[in-house]
Symmetry: D2
Subunit: 344 residues, 4 copies
């Protein structure tokens, strides 16, 4: 196989992280997130947020982050509003419902929620007989590669505050979103305009790890008990702290996100130059070009990627994902091979 474009977690971790794990390996540390690395990582992330009131906790993975946050902040009869393509709704094996909560989904061609689409769900509320919608779940970047602009984020934030809704951002691919050429959102904005969000590490060069950031003070209390109860509190919390320290002590987090986006943009440009269309326009590390099925078959001999959706009998959309470790020559090679596949 020449290259694997299936996802952004095919390789291990950024070499700096391995180095840090190695150099810290034999120090003796407290468990459960009380180690010096985790503490430092929390401090540095809070500086980045420019929000001293935020609370930061590290967990292993995205589903764990989502289920722990949601089960922590909702009462049993409160529900979640999300788009139909939301990760929590379609790719987490019912993890949210397993904590007892209903998800109400909204169709959305661009994978994003708006005040209008949330209002549509609120309108379905019937006293006593329905759940009370309480949490708005969005992903940035979304499951189909799109991103929220600052204006959109602000509008959602204001709408949520007016309607007593909790705004939660799944940031599994936040690095790619924030460093996208089309984005004007910063970490600080997320600290100001959301109640809680998480910063994905796994998809931007960590071995594992997501940093949950709770900005709303009323949601911070006893959060760690929920983590422990859901199996999300690591004994060797240092493993998470060390990695986030590496990602944030300089600009590694942003550099790696930016690199993935640049590789994606190069592919986008190359494909567009060949006159091929896309299912959705994205400026992040997930691309959804539409290829003839015969081309897909040829490419799949040398490349790994998912066929996303059948468009008609002849063409399909595929998903190509770049990452912090995608090398430029792999991208160049892919574009060459695509060109060849189209000609033949």
């Amino acid at each position: 196989m020449k290259y694997n474009f299936k996802n952004d977690y095919t390789t291990g971790c950024h070499p700096n992280i391995l180095k840090a794990l190695t150099s810290s390996n034999l120090t003796s540390e407290e468990g459960y997130g009380e180690d010096q690395y985790s503490k430092k990582a929390v401090e540095i992330i809070k500086e980045r947020l420019s929000n001293p009131d935020s609370v930061v906790h590290f967990v292993s993975g995205g589903t764990q982050a989502n289920l722990t946050v949601i089960a922590s902040v909702l009462r049993p009869y409160e529900s979640i509003i999300a788009v139909e393509t939301a990760h929590i709704s379609v790719h987490e094996t019912g993890a949210i419902e397993a904590t007892g909560h209903q998800i109400q989904t909204v169709k959305s061609p661009d994978g994003k929620l708006t005040p209008q689409s949330i209002q549509g769900q609120l309108n379905l509320f019937e006293e006593v007989h329905t759940t009370i919608p309480r949490l708005v779940y969005i992903s940035n970047s979304t499951e189909i590669g799109t991103i929220y602009t600052l204006e959109e984020l602000k509008a959602l934030s204001q709408f949520c505050r007016v309607n007593d809704l909790i705004l939660f951002v799944d940031g599994a691919r936040l690095a790619s979103a924030l460093t996208s050429s089309a984005s004007d959102v910063t970490l600080h904005d997320l600290a100001i305009y959301t109640d809680v969000f998480y910063i994905g590490g796994t998809k931007v060069g960590a071995l594992i790890g997501e940093a949950i950031v709770i900005n709303n003070k009323s949601l911070q209390k006893n959060f760690i008990y929920n983590m422990k109860q859901r199996g999300a509190l690591l004994a060797k919390g240092r493993l998470l702290g060390i990695q986030f320290l590496e990602l944030f002590k300089d600009d590694l987090f942003f550099e790696l996100g930016d690199h993935a986006n640049k590789m994606a943009l190069k592919i986008t440009t190359g494909i567009s130059d060949l006159g091929l269309p896309f299912l959705t326009t994205t400026f992040t590390n997930q691309l959804f070009p539409i290829f003839p099925n015969v081309v897909i078959a040829k490419l799949m001999k040398d490349y790994a990627f998912y066929t996303w959706i059948k468009i008609d009998d002849d063409v399909s959309a595929v998903r190509l994902v770049t990452s912090w470790s995608t090398e430029e020559h792999a991208v160049d090679g892919f574009l060459e091979d695509l060109k060849d596949a189209l000609i033949l």
Copy 2:
């Protein structure tokens, strides 16, 4: 107020039930469904089913029946397929999700599922990352008054067996469905073609009570432990047994369902004669005629009923529900008043 068409549980219970409660009142009985009345009621229902292998349990209400059955038969990662209007999805305050299970919903103009629409949901399955669809939930009659024909029921049954799906029928309004002029389904058919269903008592003249019928032997074991755990096992189980004995020892259950349908049909005919359309064609005790808003406003001075959905700025569909206790003169009066309201 002249009459209340809001639902089929506005009045108490059929006089025969009151009589039976009175005559049995001071006998000493075992608790938790082991009383002689419950035992006899179970035997009689099983005779009606012509299926000696079915197991019958009584619970207080519909949500309790639904949540106890579903939590009992599914593994944590298994999900439910239902129509978008399904009672469990929109009017039970997240009761099913509160037991940990995801509901996948299908749009359906007539409120019914088909093998095709179920297959559409099965196609969304992705190994490991999605729940495994395992239970098909249908209501008969449906939440919008429609019913399943025997052919449709058989088709669903066969599809479910081929695809290892459990077929569960919510029979909150089963009396109305089975006695509908448009129905060719019998209790025996339900025993043969479904894995589990329940016979609603509350909406056909009982004070409370639904009879859960488990036909699939592999789902019968220890069901009563689930009932106890969910608070669905009454200490004085006699209250449920006595009522179902009255409903089934003769044909009261069917007579009361038939009466409600006849009253509904009379309203349907009267409204049709006035040239007014319906949102959906039903032959059960729920009607959804479309009235001018001014007419609705006039009628609401003397009658209670729900406005169901706004059609446009001038007209809306309303819901009219008849019951075992709806008297013919109330129906006649309503049609008169409707005629007057249209004229003015």
Copy 3:
């Protein structure tokens, strides 16, 4: 069989309740507790409590009351402190754990909690790694027939407030407790000194029904959503309202509790006069006399009751329960037969 002393729910309901069900039967009422009877019953109970700020809701049974209250007031990581014999711990098929909460139990010879025994559980708390004890569950009367004095109740109340604990009283047999000759506690005391409690109807002459009383204002919000979600909200809520109206519009509730206690006291006196000991001294409707096994065998030919615990090879404690419907001649007959059995 001459008489059934197994429990206090062997018979139907008090005749007044049947009369009220009959006379109200055909009135048209709103569902889900919004009927006029439920509303009146709530008002009358609140007057009895002399606490206008309490909120009252009716549910069908004790397990339902317990699980709905507990799941409503606790966060996922909060736990319950109870005695080892607590109904929620040993006779509800894991209903509380099924809502996600841990119960920490304390050995107690008299079936009661004290500030000291609660403190013993609080001492086991370890930050992050254990649940946070938050709710103190007591039953009055207890599962072994004992009762709390006002002084004991006050001490628990004060301890709970100081330690941020919720005090919840399971009142399945509250009528017997409050009318016990040894009790100085009133309904008003319960409204003042507890956060939430329920008034049992099933065991004092109702067909079904428990009245949940929430005194702590911070626990009242949206409680009805929990009821609906757990299947505890009856469509024909009138059934519960009518019964509690009968029990409380005059003094029926107290008269029936008092009657059961008087019958129990007569048995106690009779047994003591025969020189037989008791496992525990009670002044409520549950008695635990110790009989020779041969006597038990003889009595069981004519009477139904539970053998509670084996004391040694020759004697065992049994449980005798009287109720609102226990007739004095049944008690007299039992004492006669006991005397005969001892002689032979």
Copy 4:
């Protein structure tokens, strides 16, 4: 601080693991446990078990392993029998109850279950009204450092099979148990005599990771769906596979367990030589010596460890834990300092 004896997860990981993470870092692998390292690690562990029918899955931590296994194998109304000191009961913040299951605990001075103590719990079963005990949870080594002999394990296994109970072994410290000088149990024995167990990695030199081994075929199906739903399925499953490959491709797992035990034995011998008693006799890496409080105070200036339990006003038991990374000179130094503290 001279040395930290608080637990066996104070340091990072064994250097071989770091080396393997480094050398494999940039290979492209499938996610979710489908990588080549995880597959190889599974094969090697199955060889070690000499049980080709076992199924092996990797998760991040012990609480996650426990809650995922238990929620996977039990029906909602089934409960767990465990000792009062069981980790799942006292140190997992109610994680098991949060999945809906009750734990019934047994007092046990040596932290172990026996057929007799399990039978005592089975005797409490009452049809319908109690949960059905279904899973027996033991830890090896136990939470207080003791271990099960092969004879004890066999007896439990036979008892469980006769009584339709699932035997589950929490092996967070299995390396220490299996390499204990007092143990005659092998991995093969665990595969033969238990239904499911897990092999702890975190406490024997891995960064994170526990290997769940399901021997009972009826419990294997769809286990991975439970993992995903509970947030226990890592995207970069390679992190777990690589570590277990290192631990089991040679004898590293056993060597590290053995080292920890040897260091513990040296401390035990040293303390015994000084004439000091122990709370419990252990041959694993957890020790519970009893020291004068003044000695504890002195030692705590240079060493980190937990005071376990107060014996009387003058002496307390402490817990000392050694690990794969405990160096002999640290042990020697501690014994010297202890001697000094006793003299002064």
